[in-house]
Amino acid sequence: MLQTAQRTVKSKKKKGALPHERFLEAFRWMLLARTLEEKLVSLYRGGLITGGVYIGKGQEAVSVACGLFLQKSDIFAPLIRDQAGRSAFGEPLLDVTRTYLGSRLGPMRGRDGNIHRGHPRKNELAMISHLGAMISVTVGALLAKRFKGEKNFVGLACIGEGGMQTGAFHEGMNIAAVEQVPLVVVATNNHYAYSTSNDREFACHDLVDRAIGYGFEGYSLDGTDLGACLDVIGSAVKRARAGRPPQLVVASMLRLSGHGEHDDASYVTEEVKQQPFARDCLKVAEQTIIDLNLLDADTLAEWRKDAVAQVEEAIAAAQKEPAPEGDKEDWCALSMPDLSDSFE
């Protein structure tokens, strides 16, 4: 399977990849994420997906960097725009398509949908919707690892600039610093929280200025520049792993889609779309590849085809699988059914 092949490449890289190899690896995950999400969007438009579809278009460079530097034993807390990071961290495509297509065999078994999926046992936390909540949960997972005597681990949690305004975010950041856990928080300022633009979200000059107030080390990042993303996020992960204080990276870009696919984002002005932060990170990365001649056109075309094939395969597989059924559920919210309450 191609995805596996690619993973092998990845693990080779971990032993000291050259910068351009890392770049290409990251680009390939981005391509896969974009391909997958475009397909999900068309399935959604065709009425084949229930619930919302939220994509990471324009944020793949940051996201992939979030997943790429983590080991399997690290903790990853992705959010709704982190397809690229999830894949890079090791989430199988089948997890995604099973969840979106409501297969009973998916990680959430139809109980929860779409972006809420996760694999806590594989250190991919399953987000709840309430923004900000995952920061302290990641802190707790890291604290546990410390209690258990593990070494060299890190955790990485994603957040949007909107989510940074929640109380949960604040409490989570502060407690991370108090506990001095090896946490990296990657914030994406994509200039909107749903329809709300930055001017009604916060009033500080630069969100990265929040780092100092928590005792984090803070870094700004052009989220449209894959090279910069790999550099800044990779270094932040390295610093956290080396025992430096918690790290905050604030990346800037534009959300290149609606909030979800139900949203036409007509509130995003033409002016905003002309800003430098509105560039498409995937196109920028591809241009770099062409400019520096890192790949020939054939290979690029081959990668694209491969991505499409992987996506098609994962969708076809999930589509064949059974849906959950009400009368086959045990309807028990506890792991210990004996302690379950009964209402006749």
Partner: protein, 322 residues
């Protein structure tokens, strides 16, 4: 002309903004030319500049701000993007808004709109019905309109009320319910309505479950049963008198609510009827609720999780046989 439940909510807010300078709307994405995740405030920011304000994702502060403004004489309407996110605002609602008048003698006239209840594919965090939590605590009025007309008049009334009102609007009803026109006046708050008269059984319900109950009752009518349906309209205060009067006529009680079972509105109704009208009952009162698990995402699971016309019919049949 035909107007939906959702449009009624929008129209009520337009009227409130027009008629009362103390009113403003506060919440995530309510402003701009966007008008809210469900478009319940569509166009209002433009029509009433500076009075329909987008907020950061800060439910605690949104409520805190509304409370402070209300103490100073304003009449804020807060929109939570989904009822489920009001868990973050809960402390300000229960411990601040709910206690303020009793502690200080100064009332807190806020309306908190909670887009509530399940819709297909919405899952555990975008489907909740939280009325029981708010009704459990003192100091709050909890409205659960089930019709387009009530959605309109009760929202208007909520702003006239000096005390905090939790206004649970049902997302499933947004587009599914239509009316010909909006009434000038409705029943006063705190009064339940007999939606349909009957003599064999009383079904007490509220919000979207009133519609499910009516569908169920229509089916049972074909079998010759005449079932009375009571729409509570507000779950707190709860109009015990109307419910008791109905049970006095029918002798049988089934309560239907979409929230989780333990301590839900259905338990509260049954308790009132049995403790105050025990002798009126000819059979054991029954309740039907969502299951005691998180609300599932998948439509197959969701339709098994919530009460619906089908299992209301089944439960009612059982009760009618007793």
């Amino acid at each position: 002309m035909s107007i939906t439940y959702l449009e009624a909510i929008r129209e009520a807010q337009a009227k409130l903004l027009r008629d009362d300078q103390r009113v403003f709307i506060y919440g995530q994405d309510v402003g701009g030319n966007f008008g809210g995740a469900f478009k319940a405030t569509k166009g209002l920011a433009k029509e009433f500049p500076g009075r329909v304000l987008n907020t950061p994702i800060s439910e605690d502060a949104i409520l805190g701000t509304a409370i402070g403004a209300a103490i100073q004489g304003m009449r804020p309407i807060v929109e939570m993007q989904f009822a489920d996110f009001s868990s973050i605002a809960l402390n300000q609602i229960l411990n601040h808004a709910g206690t303020h008048y009793w502690r200080t003698g100064v009332a807190v006239p806020i309306t908190v709109r909670l887009p509530s209840g399940g819709t297909k594919g919405s899952g555990p965090f975008h489907s909740q019905s939280m009325e029981s939590i708010y009704a459990h605590y003192p100091g709050l009025i909890v409205m659960t309109p089930a019709t387009v007309e009530d959605a309109y008049t009760m929202l208007i009334e909520s702003v006239a009320i000096d005390d905090p009102v939790i206004y649970c609007e049902h997302k499933y009803l947004y587009y599914h319910l239509k009316a010909d026109k909006l009434p000038d006046k409705g029943l006063p708050s705190g009064r339940a309505r007999i939606v349909r008269e009957g003599r064999d059984l009383t079904i007490v319900s509220y919000s979207a479950m009133v519609q499910e109950s009516l569908t169920a009752v229509a089916e049972l009518a074909r079998e010759g049963f005449e079932i009375e349906v009571v729409d509570l309209r507000t779950v707190k205060p709860l109009d015990t008198d109307t419910v008791l009067a109905s049970v006095a006529r029918t002798g049988r009680l089934l309560c239907v609510g979409e929230s989780f079972p333990w301590g839900g509105a259905t338990a509260e109704i049954i308790t009132r009827v049995t403790s105050q009208g025990f002798h009126l009952l000819d059979a054991a009162p029954q309740r039907l609720n969502a299951k005691d698990t998180p609300i599932p995402y998948h439509p197959n699971l969701w339709s098994a999780h919530r009460p619906n016309a089908k299992n209301i019919v089944a439960k009612a049949r059982q009760l009618l046989r007793e």
